[in-house]
Symmetry: C2
Subunit: 366 residues, 2 copies
C-alpha cells in the first residue's frame, strides 16, 4: 500500500492542545507539517515531515507579488473506535492538480500526497478531536518561492500540508444563515480562475463579504460575471436549491469550483432517487419560485461547513425568507448522512472513506 | 519636508553588486529593505529600515492561502550629476491605497511611504545604476500575515519595500514585440479586481502567457471578460494605438489597471496636441483599421518597459504586421521623452520628478 518513504523529523516539544470542546476554526495548528520542494530540472523532491515552524522566504518570493498559489481543504475524523478516517482525500488531490494546471504549477504525485497525509496524521494523531461537530481540518497548499520580480511562472515551489483541529466553521453551526445577493462585485468569470482553488478568487471576494456583513448578512450569493444573472456560488461554497420537489444546482461552467461536498451531495441525492438537475439557475427563477411558494429549501455545501442551510436571501431590497428561516428536511438529512459517514457511524456505500491506518503508515516510514 | 522618523538598522556587511552593464530584471536586491507592521487596534506601526533578509511567516499566514496582497512598481534614476530622481512616486502610493481599498487592506500614509522610499534609496544609493537603460526598480508591497485559515480580511499586515537594480524588462528592449490576441482566457472582468494591483490578476494571466510563448509570441492581448470583444491590456501593460493619425487607448472601465505610465503618455500626447481618445476599442476595429492601412502604430506602456512597441498581432489565425514590424515615430518619441525626463536630461514640465535629496533624508533620520 505504501511505497513512499518520507524523512520524519519529530518535534522535541509538544504544544499545549486547545480544549477540544471549545475549538474555533483555523486558529490552532498541530505539532508537525509536511513539506516538499520543487526545483526546475529536479522536479518535486525531499518530501519530509518536520516540526510545525515558520516559513523563511525571500521578500521577492513570487507568491508575495504574483499570487501563484493553490490550496485544498479536507477533513479527518475520529471514530468511536479511535480510528482516524479521511473523507475522499484523492478527490482533493485530483482537484489540486487541476488547480495546478490552471496556475502553471507543476503537478504533484497524488498518491504521494495522500500517503503524506496519512503519515502526517499518524504522527499527530492525538490532535484529531473527538467532540461532536469537531474534526481535523487539513490544508495542503502550494506556493511559488522563486526570488524573482518578473511576471512568469515560478521555477521553484513548496508543497506544504498543515493541520488544525476545528469546531464548526460558522458560529451558527447547522442553523440557517442569511445571504445577500451580490450584484456589484464579481467573484469569477469564464476564462478566469473561478474553477481553480487559488488565492486570488478568495482575495477578490473579501470586499463583497465586508459589504454584506455590514448589512447583517453572513455570506454573499455570487452571480455570473458576464450577465450578472445566473447563480454561481454562495460565499466560498457551492449552492443547491429545492424547487417544487426537485434539487437544482448550477452546472459547472468554468467559473464555479467543483466542490467535493457538492459532488458527494449529488451522489447522495441520486442514490435517494430524488429528482436532480445541474443546469443554469437565474436569480429571477429563484425570485419567481419564492413568490410562487415553490422555493422549498436552499443550502450551501463545502468541506468547512459541510451543509449550510440558507434561511433568507436579500435581493433588490427584498427579503426572501425560505422555509420560515428554518433548516429544511433535505439539508438536515444531507448533513446527518454526510457527517455520519465521515465519523464512521453510517455505512460508507460510496467508497468515500480512507482509513489512516496508523500502524502501516508509521511502520513503513520509520 | 520630512517629519517622519524611521529606525534604521544598517547591515554590517555589503553584498557584492552585479555588473551594472549586465543587469537583468528583478534578480538582484539591494542591501536594505523597509518594513512596517499593521496590527488591528494599533494601526500601522514600527516603520524601519533593516538589512535585506528573509521574511519569517507562519505557514497559515493568510497571504499564502487567500491571496490578500497588493503591490506597486516604480523606478529611480541616477542623473549625470549623480542626483537620484524618483518618477511620480506619489501616483504609485495613491494607487496602492486604491488597491488596498479593493482588497480590504488598511490604507497607508502616502507621504510616509514616499519618505520611506527616500530614506531607503539614500541608504542604498550606491545601488542606483548609471548605465544606459538601467534604473533602480522599487517594489512596495503589502501582504496579509495573520495566522488564520478562514476566508476574511486579515487583522495583521506587513508593508515592505525592496529594491532591485535593473536592465531592460524585455530582452528585445525598445524593439517591437509580437503579441497573440487571447480569446480563451480572461484576465479580469468588471466587478472583479482588474483595476487593483493584486497578485491574483497576475496569477490568472500566466496560463495565457504560457500558451502565447509556445507559439512564439512574447505577450498576450487581453479582451474584456464580458463580451470577449474589447481590448483591455497587453501582458501587464496598458495599450495604445495610432489609428489614422489619432492616438486611441481603452477607457478605464473598472477592469483595466490605471497605469502611471499610461497617465504620463496621455499627458504628453495632449501636450503635443496630437488627437487622443480614451474610449472602447474593439478587436474588430483594430482588424479593420489594419486592413485599411490605418493602423499606424501600437504600443504597450508600463513602468518596467516604459514603452514597448508592438510589431505584430496574431488573431484568428492571421498575422497583422504593424508599421513593417518596426518601432513607430510616436512610440520612439514617447520613449525618448519619458526616459529623458526620468534621467533628468529633459526638462520636467509636468512636475513628475521627485528628488531623493539624500542629505536631507539621511540627516533627519539618524
Amino acid at each position: 500500500m505504501n511505497d513512499y518513504q518520507f524523512e520524519i523529523n519529530l518535534s522535541s516539544t509538544k504544544k499545549q492542545k486547545p480544549a477540544f470542546d471549545q475549538l474555533v476554526f483555523g486558529r490552532n495548528f498541530t505539532d508537525h507539517m509536511f513539506v516538499m520542494d520543487y526545483t526546475e530540472g529536479r522536479g518535486w523532491h525531499d518530501p519530509r515531515i518536520i516540526p510545525y515552524q515558520p516559513l523563511q522566504l525571500d521578500p521577492s518570493a513570487m507568491v508575495f507579488h504574483y499570487g501563484q498559489s493553490v490550496f485544498e481543504g479536507l477533513k479527518a475524523y475520529l471514530t468511536e473506535d479511535q480510528e482516524v478516517l479521511m473523507f475522499r482525500p484523492y478527490k482533493n488531490m485530483e482537484r489540486l492538480n487541476r488547480s495546478n494546471n490552471r496556475l502553471c504549477i507543476p503537478a504533484i504525485d497524488e498518491e504521494l500526497a495522500v500517503q503524506a497525509l496519512r503519515q502526517l496524521i499518524s504522527v499527530d494523531h492525538d490532535w484529531v478531536p473527538n467532540e461532536e461537530g469537531t474534526s481535523l481540518y487539513i490544508r495542503p497548499f502550494i506556493i511559488s518561492t522563486e526570488p524573482y520580480l518578473g511576471v512568469a511562472a515560478s521555477h521553484q515551489y513548496q508543497f506544504i500540508i498543515i493541520m488544525s483541529p476545528v469546531g464548526a466553521y460558522y458560529k451558527e453551526g447547522i442553523n440557517p444563515v442569511k445571504i445577500a445577493v451580490q450584484s456589484e462585485y464579481v467573484r469569477a468569470v469564464k476564462g478566469g480562475t473561478g474553477n481553480a482553488k487559488t488565492g486570488g478568487n478568495y482575495a477578490s471576494s473579501l470586499k463583497a463579504q465586508e459589504v454584506a456583513e455590514k448589512s447583517g448578512y453572513s455570506q454573499v450569493l455570487w452571480l455570473d460575471g458576464k450577465e450578472n444573472k445566473y447563480v454561481e456560488e454562495v460565499g466560498s461554497m457551492n449552492i443547491f436549491f429545492k424547487i417544487n420537489g426537485e434539487i437544482v444546482t448550477p452546472e459547472l461552467n468554468g467559473s464555479i469550483l467543483e466542490g467535493v461536498t457538492r459532488n458527494s451531495v449529488i451522489e447522495l441525492i441520486k442514490h435517494w432517487e430524488i429528482p436532480l438537475s445541474e443546469r443554469k439557475v437565474s436569480i429571477d427563477e429563484i425570485y419567481e419560485a419564492h413568490k410562487n411558494g415553490q422555493l422549498e429549501e436552499a443550502f450551501g455545501t463545502g468541506t468547512a461547513a459541510v451543509i449550510s442551510p440558507i434561511g433568507e436571501f436579500f435581493w433588490n431590497d427584498e427579503k426572501l425568507v425560505i422555509n420560515n428561516g428554518e433548516t429544511g428536511e433535505i439539508s438536515r438529512k444531507l448533513y446527518d448522512t454526510l457527517t455520519g459517514i465521515q465519523k464512521g457511524k453510517l455505512e460508507d456505500k460510496f467508497g468515500w472513506i480512507v482509513k489512516v491506518d496508523e500502524e502501516k503508515a508509521v511502520t513503513s516510514a520509520i
